[in-house]
């Protein structure tokens, strides 16, 4: 080989190799970006997932707490969008899975070994927690997840609008439908129960005297009373008294504050914003009774911290959860009361929460204790989706409720069979 051709080959090959490497670059980058920023002073990193809270300052608060933790560098993923569940579930299968995440108690996470039991960190303060919160997180004697906040959901209404229309606070579901009709004008709709109308699912079933599942974990929602309640929903939907396709959904106070509706289903978290905007022109009431003899209902939702049992630093993650959600009461209080209103699950914090002691917040707490019911850990996401489809089909599409419930039964039973055999 001549020297010329040799050097020629070299120069070209170098260029080609460089081009090849450049082409490989993005691939390498794919592998490198794990979302984990290991390092920091202690050399250990944790990732936490939160859904995007609507209240101003919440994201900063969560990041501020995380920064104050000395033992590890905690990165926060603030998941925006409406499908937090999907993003959480699919990320849990990957190497990018969060070490700790907020969610609701659901049995499939425990059965699949996804979340770690937290008895050792909860045990010392177990008596300080609302017993219902402990119960809803307990499976076979083990507690999974630390409750951060309890969020009762009920109806908010504009007192002035009800007064003007001569409507009393509805005591039954039929009265609610009548109220919605009377309150509807060409400018204002009578009632807003969310764009997809699924947020009242729990309360609807409970107020009809039924339940999602019974004690033996069998279907308990398929009753005549629930069918009747669904028919009332359908009637309200077709009569044009409901606010639909609003720019902001039920969890946002905008619809009520902007005067698009007279009554809105929402959570206690939105109360500060509503009070600020509407002053005294604001009242609350539980989901009214939908069957004779049935109690009104309030859904005590909320969020809990879970530790990913398949994470790389389970012990450290548990330490972090213990530090923030068990030891550091000032952060827990700040989180529950400084942004939206949430009821602290710790009795000791709830007792000192002066903001919730008087006026409308106190009424909210009363609804929470009098009528509130908590999540059933056996009612999992797939079942939740199945019941949401009942609303879509029987209320929006107009399918016979009985048929829609039958379809849900098939799906829920398939789920129950997988969980309980």
């Amino acid at each position: 080989m001549s020297a010329l051709s040799n050097s020629n080959w070299d120069r070209r090959s170098v260029l080609r190799a460089a081009a090849g490497l450049a082409a490989l670059g993005p691939l390498a980058a794919c592998g490198g970006n794990t979302g984990r920023e290991g390092g920091g002073s202690s050399g250990k990193g944790l990732v936490q997932y939160f859904h995007a809270y609507g209240e101003a300052g919440t994201q900063e608060a969560i990041k501020r707490y995380a920064k104050a933790y000395d033992e590890a560098r905690v990165t926060t993923q603030w998941i925006t969008g409406t499908n937090f569940e999907s993003k959480l579930f699919s990320s849990l299968l990957t190497d990018n899975a969060p070490d700790v995440f907020e969610f609701h108690p659901q049995l499939q996470l425990i059965k699949s070994g996804q979340v770690a039991p937290l008895d050792d960190i909860i045990a010392p303060v177990k008596d300080d927690f609302n017993p219902a919160d402990i119960k809803s997180h307990t499976v076979d004697g083990k507690v999974y997840g630390v409750r951060m906040i309890d969020d009762p959901q009920f109806f908010f209404y504009r007192k002035s609008m009800l007064e003007k229309a001569g409507v009393d606070v509805p005591q039954t579901l039929d009265e609610l439908a009548e109220a919605a009709a009377k309150l509807t004008t060409d400018k204002v709709k009578g009632l807003f129960i969310g764009n997809s109308m699924v947020s009242t699912n729990y309360a609807l079933v409970w107020a009809a005297g039924a339940d999602q599942l019974n004690d033996k974990n069998e279907i308990a929602y398929h009753t005549d009373e629930v069918v009747e309640a669904l028919k009332v929903y359908r009637k309200m939907f077709t009569s044009g008294h409901l606010l639909l396709d609003a720019p902001a959904d039920y969890w946002d106070p905008s619809a009520l504050v902007q005067g698009l509706t007279a009554i809105q289903w929402c959570g206690m978290w939105a109360m500060p914003v509503m009070q600020k905007a509407l002053g005294d022109d604001l009242g609350i009431f539980p989901f009214p009774s939908a069957a004779s003899g049935a109690k009104p209902a309030v859904y005590n939702g909320g969020w809990s911290m879970f530790v990913n049992a398949k994470g790389k630093n389970v012990d450290l993650a548990k330490e972090y959860v213990k530090w923030l959600w068990i030891d550091e009461k000032k952060y827990q209080e700040d989180w529950a009361l400084s942004y939206g209103f949430h009821i602290p699950p710790r009795t000791s914090i709830a007792e000192s929460a002066t903001k919730l002691k008087s006026g409308l917040p106190a009424e909210g707490v009363k609804l929470f204790t009098d009528y509130g019911r908590f999540d059933n850990i056996s009612w999992t996401q797939a079942m939740i989706t199945a019941f949401e489809e009942v609303i879509a089909n029987s209320v929006r599409k107009g399918t016979n409720p009985e048929k829609a419930l039958d379809a849900a039964d098939t799906k829920v039973n398939r789920e129950l069979k997988k969980l309980f055999g």
């Binding site: 080989m1 001549s2 090849g20 849990l92 499939q108």
Partner: protein, 320 residues
Amino acid sequence: MSTTTTRDATRPAPAKVSKARPRRGLRGSTFNFWLFTGPFLLGLVIFVYIPIGWSAWLSFFEARYTVTPDKFVGFDNYKLMLTNGDFTGSLVTFTVFAAIIVPVTWALSLGLALMVHRLRFMKAFFRSVFFLPTACSFVAASLIWKMSIFSGVRFGMMNTVLSWFGVENIAWLANPNPPWYWLVIVTVRLWLQAGFYMILFLAALQNIPPELYEAAAIDGAKPGWQTFRYITLPQLRATSTAVILLLLVAAYQAFDEFFNLLAKSTWGRPPLVELYYTALGDDQDYGAGSAGAVILTLLICTVTLLQGRFMGFGRGEETK
């Protein structure tokens, strides 16, 4: 390679070089082949073939909340997907969607192209204006459609316009009877993609030789419909076919607008959305989702083969 050849030709001792060249050329070209295709082949294998194989494997297992399952269930997932109605319903949804969007986009983009083609001034301006929406993301456009144009409240744009004529507020997306949601879904896609296909038609229109029109005029063809029907349209046949094919593919891939516009519904879910909800959504049933994906793949293969048989795609020009 051409530069190498010219350079070599100027060399003083060709005999020597030609001796070395075959070996080097062979090794060089093989090396080059792998150098250029290697990274992409690797990417293809990692991101396409392995997932396809994995998916086929998953479809025979009970894979919930895991992609490394161990419980073999045979064809149970296939049975579930074919019998529960959601998946088969999604195929109907896709068919309805394609049946609306393909001809409408075809006609609109052809119409736009014809109009822009005839413009004497500001042609470039209108061409750009109509093409511009292509740059917008489906998600962003869906949100604008949902929250401002087709918002259900009284100050939503469409409801405001309708209220001038005394029409009551319409819940465009929440209420599936009548299915106004198709209007929202079709218009957003139309706005986003018509401009792109207009450019294709415009290019084809400019390629039609003016002599044809002149000859037609001499033969007595009236300008307007007659010329369009017998000259323009046949000349656009190749482009039209390509556009229809591209539109079908795009319609099949539709996901964003359905996902963003229709929440918590049981209708208006084309196959990809349905499979997303099954496998990646709340259910996390990778087994059933994979079974659906395999069924879909088989279906697409069948349709493609049949299409090739009946419409002659892929055959040489001479056999037509």
